[in-house]
Structures are given as C-alpha cells and as structure tokens.
Symmetry: C2
Subunit: 237 residues, 2 copies
C-alpha cells in the first residue's frame, strides 16, 4: 500500500519505519520539507534531527503534506494534535476524499505546563474534529493510547493488552485492523469501541497514561481491558 505519514516527529518516524519495513511505499508529509531537512538540533526528549533519520531510511521519502496525501491510499496523522487540522488543510481535501486516515494523535495542551491537559476534551475530541472538518476522510482513531514503540511492536509489553478502534466507517476499521495485525496485534488485542465519538474515551486516557509513566518510570506499559473477552482470548495464553 501507499502510505502518507503526516508528521516528522518520533511517532511519525517510528510508524513510517515500520510501514517501510513491511514493504509499503511510504512518504512522510511535512509543512516545509527543506526546513525539516535543514534542522540540526536534538529535542530535549532526545529526538535527533530528521535528516539523520532519513539517511538511515533511504526508501522513505519526504514531501509536502499535499504531495504525500496525493500519493497515498491511506494516511496516518502523526502530527501534534494542535497542528493536525492545519496539516490536513494543507494536504488538501481533494487529496483526502474517500481515503482512510488513521489518527494516532492526541490534542495535548501544554498551556498549563507539564503534564499537559487536553484540548478539546470531554465534549469533543480531535478525532471528531478531523472527521467533521474533512467529511470525505474515513477517520479511524487508533494507537493513540500508548508509546510509539509499543504501537509497532506490541510484544514489548508482555502479556495481553489492547489497542482501540473508533470510527464511523466499517471498511476503514477493517483496513486499520489488518494493518494492526501486520504490526503484531492479535485479533483479540483489537477492541472496537464504536463510532468516532468514542475517540473522546481513548483521548482521555492520556492524563492517566502520563501519570502512569511518572509512577512506573518507563513507557513499556499499556491498557488491558480485563473481562473484555473470554479467558485465553489473546493468542491462546
């Protein structure tokens, strides 16, 4: 498949590298490719410059949001939540109509410092905002409830755990489910919550996720809904 991953941060890079390793044709979209490639700084959280990562992943191309979206059969929103609507607007609705968008972003709000809050929250969600703003997109909110290394390698967390699906388009959720299986998520690890409105629930996991990270001192954990399936539903364990 032809994928456009929107966003050049650690989440976008991790997903792009995984998709590339699975043989997909991957373009990363950014606002200004020349500016992205010119950056040399490492972020405070230790994420190095994009150009160095690009050298290690020569098959993955970098282009504008619009070029990436035009190229793709399926898109992944890995921009920061605050930038997502602008990124998709730049991608151009004409390049989005009818396509599946996996929305893995969270609308983190750092205006009150760390840990961030959410905006929107409770009465709305980023997933719903994107679906309303781009009604031709088939939005599936997924993978936004865990660290990006767990997204593409669920085996990092021993035992059963869940990835959620929220979306209004059953076919798009089927596409998402197949991609998740290719990442190593078993059938019983994928929990379909219902329509895109249920993205409110998964985005609101972020506050406890951040506090769990603080309490546990690592990010190799994930939510498991105990009682969601029969015993032994996860891969026969």
């Amino acid at each position: 498949m032809r994928y456009a991953v929107l966003g050049t941060g650690i989440v976008g890079r991790t997903l792009a590298a995984k998709l590339d390793s699975l043989g997909h044709d991957v373009v990363i979209g950014t606002r200004d490719p020349a500016a992205t490639l010119a950056r040399t700084e490492t972020t405070p959280t230790g994420v190095g410059p994009y150009a160095a990562w690009q050298e290690e992943h020569p098959r993955v191309r970098l282009s504008t949001f619009a070029e990436a979206a035009a190229h793709a059969d399926c898109l992944v929103n890995a921009t920061s939540g605050k930038a997502s609507i602008d990124a998709l607007t730049a991608a151009d609705a004409a390049h989005l109509d009818g396509k599946v968008l996996l929305d893995v972003a969270n609308p983190l709000d750092f205006s009150r410092g760390f840990p961030p809050g959410l905006d929107p929250v409770d009465s709305d969600s980023l997933g719903e905002q994107i679906q309303r703003a781009f009604p031709g997109l088939r939005v599936v909110k997924t993978l936004n409830t865990m660290n990006c290394l767990v997204m593409v390698d669920p085996g990092r967390v021993a035992g059963e755990h869940h990835v959620f699906l929220s979306g209004d388009d059953a076919e798009a959720k089927k596409t998402a489910r197949e991609l998740l299986h290719s990442f190593g998520w078993p059938e019983s690890g994928v929990l379909d919550l219902g329509g895109i409105e249920t993205a409110r629930g998964t985005e609101m996991l972020l506050p406890i996720w951040l506090r769990l990270m603080g309490a546990l001192g690592h990010t190799d954990f994930n939510f498991h809904i105990q009682g969601a399936g029969g015993p032994g539903a996860w891969g026969g364990h």
Copy 2:
C-alpha cells in the same frame, strides 16, 4: 473500624454491605434520613427503595451526614459527584478533620445527556476539589474506575486488574490499601499513582469505561495496566 458511607445509592449500599459483612461498624449518611426511608420508587436502572435494602441489612444504620461523620474513623464518599461537596459541608468540617476519606465518586455531568461528561475535567478533579475544600480531610481517591460489584469483589473479573490510589497522605493511602486487601485486592493489584492531583487521570477513565460498557454489553470488566509489574505479580498467576 467505624465507617461512615456517605450516599444511599447502589454504590454506597454495596460498599456498606461489604464493610458490614467484614465486621465493621457502618453508618450510612444521607441528607434527610426520614425522606430516604419514605421513598418507595425503583430507579430506571433497577435500584429498589432504600428501606427494603435497610431491612436486609439491619446492622447498618442510617443517619444524617453529620451524625455519620461524627461516628466514623473513616469515611467513604459514595454520593454523586455533583452532590459531594454539599454532602461533606453538611457533614461538618469539625467531624472530618484528621479522618481518612475514600473518595469513590466521579463528577459525572449529565447536562448534555448520555453518556455523561465530567465536570470538573482535565484541569481539576473532584478528588482535588474535596481535598481543597476540606484541608483537614485525608482524601484518597480510589475504586472510582469500576462497577461497584467489582469494587468489593475483584474476583468477578477473571485475571489481573488494577485499582488505583491517588492522595497526598501516605498513612491514609496505607489505610486504603489495607481496606482494599480486605475486599480481595492483592498487593500487586493496587497501583499508587501519587498525589491527589493524579485523580484527574482516574476520573478521566470514566468516558472510556462508559463506552466499553456499551461495546461489551456488561460491567464485569476493569482496567489492567499491563507492564506495571513483573510477570505473575498478581497472586502468583
């Protein structure tokens, strides 16, 4: 121990019955005991009149919030979130100072219909509001992330799952932990998130809890943080 359970709904009754069965001296607090006992209706969710429940639990007494608080060594807030501050105000701060309060309530906001939202949310929590309003109380937010039948009988959900603790007083959290053990929660099933501020995280689990209830069609489920402890941490399984 002498317990005051504030709130006569299904959560308060379930916790009071469990505490009574464990040999504790339990008083349920309500605004107007005569009015509570006079009610004859069954709620739309099937909760029968308090008086009928009272007959089945003759050792548990019903009294005003203030009398219940005066009686107790330890309090449980099982009122509706919107009524909690008023209930504790009626209980009288003089009867609260120095005591442990287990806050199992959630600030559900039904103003936009079902499923309810939360108020406060994200930038504050009910647990923090209570701690601020009654600085002499030693508030521990706990048990608010599951159905009340699971609270007092964690074995209803097969396998490992978690109950969270949030609070600023280490001794009060120890008291809470001991009570949870007496309910059947093993040591490894109790996850201390930190200060009362972390109640924001657990209260914000309610939106996905409500949507999971819808997707799964039952309430015998709970959150398990996979990766929070070593394998087999839960009771040797």
